[in-house]
Amino acid sequence: MSLWQKVACLVLVLVVGASLAANWLAPGGYAKQYREVTDAPPSRAHWLGTDEIGRDRFARVLYGTRISLLLAPAAALLSTLMAALIGGLAGYLGGAWARTAMAVTDLFLSLPWLFLLITARALMPLNVSPLVSVMVTFLLLGLLGWTTAARVLCTTAGSLRTSDFLRQARAAGIPGRRLFWMHVVPNLKPVLYAQFWISIPVFILSEANLGILGLGVAEPMPSWGSLLKELEGLVSVGEEPWKFVPLILLVVVVTSFQLLLSRQEELAA
C-alpha cells in the first residue's frame, strides 16, 4: 500500500468516524431551524454557519455524510450482487444465455437512467418518511446500476468457462452448480471487489445529481446532493468559501475511494 493509499484510508476512516459520531459532535441535530440566524457565516455556535433557513451546516454535513457513505456502499453491494448473478452466470453458461443476458443489459444501458429515476420517483407513494425516501432512492440506484459491471463480469466469467482448470474440473465430474460456486465465483472476486469500489463514488455522485434536481433525499434529511444544491446560484467563489465544504468533502472522499480502488486493481491483477 502506497503512502497516498494510506492517507486515503485514513481520510475515509476519519470521515466515516465523524459521520457516525454526528449525534455527539452536533447535538442540535440536522433539522433544527435557528430562524434568527439564517445564512450565517461560521461562528462558535455554528462552525460552518447556517443554511438559508437557519439549520446548522456542520450538523447537516455530518449527517449527510453518514447517509451518503452508508447507503452508497449498500447500493453498490446490491448492484454488484446483481451484476455477479446476471453477468457471472451468463458468462459461465455462455451461448444463448450469454447473448440474452447481454441483450437485456444493453437494453438497460440504453435507457436514460435519469428520466427512469425521475419517473420511478414520481410513481412512488408520497407519504413516506425521509428515511424511507432516502433508502428508496439508493435502492433505485442499486437496481439500475448493475449493467456496466454485468458486462465486465460476463466477459471475465466467459474467459473462465473455457479455461483449462475448469475443463479439468468438469472432466473430473464436478457438477455445474458446485463448479460455479467453488471455482468460478472465487476467481471473479477481484473483479467483483473492483466493481464494488467503482460503484460507490458513482452512486454518491448520482444521488448528488438527483439531489440537485430536488429528487433525491426528502427534506429535512440531508445528503451530499441536497447540500450541494446550496452552491446553485453562488455568484462568486470567494464570497462564502465555507459553503464549499460539502463539495470538498465529496471530492476528497471520491478521490480516496479511487486511490483505494487502484489498490484493488493491483490486487486483482
Binding site: A31, Q33, R35, T38, E52, I53, G54, I118, R121, A122, L126, N127, V128, S129, P130, S133, L213, G214, L215, A218, E219, P220, E232, G233, V235
Partner: protein, 549 residues
C-alpha cells in the same frame, strides 16, 4: 438630433460671465438631450412563441406585445386607472354588452398605413374568431353568438357582444390593434417600438416606431429610446452576472435571494415596489373521488382542521426567512396591492399554535405523546408536494413542516417534477396537500372566475363539481355570478368583499404570502419607476432613456 443642433446654436451668446452661465445651461440641456435616445437591453426568459399580438399566451410574446402594440385604452401600471390611448373616449352600455370608442385621427401604423375604425373592427373580428383560439379573445367570450362591429365613421366604432362582458373596457388593455390593409400584417404596429430583427434563440431587436403618435408634455416625439435589444436568456444567474457587468440595463423580475446579493454591492440599483398581486398558497385535496384514505379526506374537508393548520403556520417567518423580508403575510385571495378590489376589513392570520390546538381539540383531535391523533386514533401525517427546483416553495414547505411539528402534525415534503405534479392535481388527484402560487395579471375578480366557481377546472381543491358540494361554495358561486352580472362597481365590490370573507373563513386555499415586486435597473436608465403590475420596470418604456453608452 434636431434638438442637439438647435442647442449648439444657443452657445453663441457674447461676453464674460454670461457666456459661462449660458454655457453651463446649454451643457446641462445638451446632457439631457444626449440622455435621450440610446439602446435599452434586457432579457426575455424564453423564446417568444408568436409576434401576432392576438395569439399571445407566453410572457416573452406578451413583453413584445406590450412594447410594440398600440391599444385603445391602457391600464396605467402606476395608478391602476384606465387611461385613453388610441381611443380619445369610450362608453360602455348599461347592460355591459356594447362599447363605443371615439378614436384619434391622423395616426398611422409603423409602415405608414393610416389607422381608422376599420382596423379596430378587423382586429375585434379576428380576435373573436373561434378558429384563432386566442387566449386574449377568451376573456371577451361571455355567451354564444357572434360579435357585431359597427363602424360609424373613420373615428367612431361600436362593438356589440352577445352577452354582458364584465370589466369590458379594461379588457382592451390587452388588445393590440392590427392593420386591415397593411401588407406587413401583424408586423405593422401602432405602439412605440416595432420588431426590426429576430434571431431565433438569441435576440429580438425593437426599433423606434417613426410613426408613433404620442408626444411628451414639451411636444417631443416619443419614444425617447432608439431601440430595445431583448436577449433570450433563461438562466437567471447569467442574467444577473450580465447585469452586474453592465451588459444589461434592467432585470424585470428578481428573486429575493438575487435581490439581496445585488443590494449588498449596489443598493441604488435594486427596487422593491412592495407587495405584488402574486400569492403563494397551500391547499388540501378535498376531491371526493381522490385515492387517499377516507379519514384523511375527513380532515381535509373540515374547515376547523384547515383553519388550525393555517393558524399554526408562521407567515412572518416565511416572509422573513424565505423571502428575506421581500414578501408580506397574505391576508386572503386578493393582495392589498389590488387597491380597489382588496377587502381592507380582512386582517392577517395571527400565528398561534395554542389557538390551533384548541380548534383541533374542538374538532375531536388530541395530542398523544407529541403526536396529534384524530378521534379514531389515526396519527395526523400528510405529505406536502411542490415543484422541484422552486427554492422558495421548497423552503416554505420545510418551514411549515417544522411549524406543524409543534402541534404534533407530521409532514412529509415531496418535490416532484412539474408535469408529474400537474398530473396529480388535475387528473389522478393522488396528493394530500400542495404548495403552489397564483400569478394574477388581472386586477378584476372576473379574471379569477375560473378559480372560484365550483364547476371550474381551476377550482383546485375540488374542481369540476356538478353542483356545489358545500353551502359556502354555493354562496361563492352565487356571489361571483352576481358580481359578473352587473356593471355597478359598488355592487360588484360588495359581492366580492363577501367572497373574500368566505374564503378567509373557510380557507380552501391557505394563503401564505404575497411576494414583493423586485427588480433591478441600471443607473444608466433614466425615467424608470418600477411598479407592482407587469411589466414592472418598462411599463413606461416610451419615456425611458439610456445614457453613458
Amino acid at each position: 438630433m434636431k434638438r442637439h443642433v438647435n442647442m449648439s446654436k444657443q452657445i453663441a451668446v457674447p461676453c464674460g460671465k454670461a457666456i459661462g452661465v449660458a454655457m453651463l445651461c446649454v451643457l446641462s440641456l445638451l446632457g439631457q438631450a444626449l440622455a435621450q435616445g440610446g439602446e435599452l437591453r434586457f432579457c426575455l426568459r424564453s423564446e417568444p412563441k408568436t409576434f401576432d399580438p392576438l395569439k399571445v399566451e407566453d410572457d416573452a410574446s406578451g413583453a413584445i406585445r406590450y412594447l410594440t402594440g398600440g391599444v385603445l385604452v391602457r391600464v396605467n401600471r402606476q395608478t391602476q386607472e384606465l387611461q385613453p390611448e388610441l381611443a380619445l373616449s369610450w362608453k360602455v352600455s348599461k347592460d355591459g354588452r356594447q362599447i363605443s370608442f371615439r378614436l384619434r385621427s391622423g395616426v398611422s401604423f409603423s409602415d405608414g398605413t393610416p389607422f381608422s375604425a376599420e382596423d379596430v373592427a378587423y382586429t375585434v373580428q379576428r380576435l373573436m374568431d373561434p378558429a384563432l383560439h386566442s387566449a386574449t379573445g377568451d376573456a371577451f367570450r361571455s355567451g354564444t353568438g357572434s360579435v357585431e362591429t359597427k363602424v360609424v365613421s373613420p373615428t367612431q366604432i361600436s362593438i356589440l357582444f352577445p352577452a354582458q362582458v364584465t370589466g369590458l373596457d379594461r379588457l382592451f388593455d390587452q388588445v393590440a390593434i392590427l392593420s386591415q390593409h397593411s401588407p406587413k400584417k401583424e408586423m405593422a404596429v401602432l405602439g412605440p417600438f416595432m420588431v426590426a430583427d429576430y434571431k431565433p434563440g438569441s435576440s429580438v431587436l425593437l426599433k423606434r416606431n417613426p410613426n408613433y403618435w404620442k408626444t411628451d408634455e414639451q411636444g417631443h416625439k416619443l419614444p425617447y429610446l432608439d431601440s430595445i435589444q431583448l436577449d433570450i436568456q433563461s438562466n437567471r444567474d447569467v442574467e444577473l452576472l450580465r447585469f452586474k457587468r453592465g451588459e444589461l440595463d434592467l432585470i424585470n423580475s428578481l428573486d429575493s435571494e438575487y435581490f439581496d446579493k445585488l443590494a449588498a454591492t449596489s443598493p441604488q440599483l435594486v427596487h422593491d415596489a412592495g407587495p405584488s398581486l402574486d400569492s403563494e398558497q397551500l391547499w388540501f385535496n378535498e376531491v371526493a373521488k381522490s385515492p387517499i384514505p377516507a379519514y384523511k379526506k375527513n380532515w381535509f374537508r373540515s374547515a376547523s382542521f384547515r383553519r388550525a393548520i393555517s393558524e399554526a403556520i408562521n407567515r412572518d417567518d416565511l416572509s422573513r426567512v424565505v423571502y428575506h423580508g421581500h414578501a408580506q403575510p397574505a391576508v386572503g385571495p386578493f393582495s392589498p396591492a389590488n387597491k380597489f378590489w382588496f377587502n381592507d376589513k380582512l386582517k392577517p392570520q395571527i400565528y398561534s399554535p395554542d389557538a390551533a390546538l384548541k380548534e383541533l381539540a374542538a374538532d375531536g383531535f388530541r395530542m398523544d405523546n407529541g403526536t396529534l391523533k384524530d378521534r379514531d386514533g389515526n396519527e395526523v401525517v400528510f405529505s406536502i408536494i411542490t415543484n422541484a427546483g422552486n427554492k422558495a416553495r421548497e423552503r416554505m414547505a420545510v418551514l411549515i413542516q417544522e411549524d406543524l411539528q409543534k402541534i404534533g402534525v407530521h409532514v412529509n415534503v415531496v418535490t416532484l417534477d412539474f408535469p408529474s405534479l400537474i398530473e396529480r392535481i388535475t387528473q389522478t388527484f393522488d396528493y394530500e396537500a400542495i404548495i403552489l402560487g397564483l400569478t394574477n395579471v388581472d386586477l378584476d375578480p372576473n379574471g379569477e372566475m375560473n378559480v372560484w366557481l365550483s364547476s371550474s377546472e381551476n377550482h383546485q381543491w375540488n374542481p369540476q363539481q356538478k353542483t356545489p358540494e358545500t353551502q359556502w361554495e354555493a354562496e361563492i358561486d352565487r356571489l361571483m355570478r352576481a358580481q359578473a352580472s352587473t356593471s355597478d362597481a359598488k355592487k360588484r365590490k360588495e359581492a366580492f368583499d363577501r367572497v373574500q370573507e368566505i374564503i378567509v373563513e373557510q380557507e380552501p386555499f391557505i394563503f401564505l404570502i404575497n411576494k414583493n415586486a423586485l427588480s433591478a435597473v441600471s443607473a444608466a436608465v433614466q425615467g424608470a419607476n418600477p411598479v407592482i403590475l407587469s411589466p414592472e420596470t418598462y411599463w413606461n418604456a416610451e419615456r425611458l432613456t439610456v445614457s453613458g453608452k
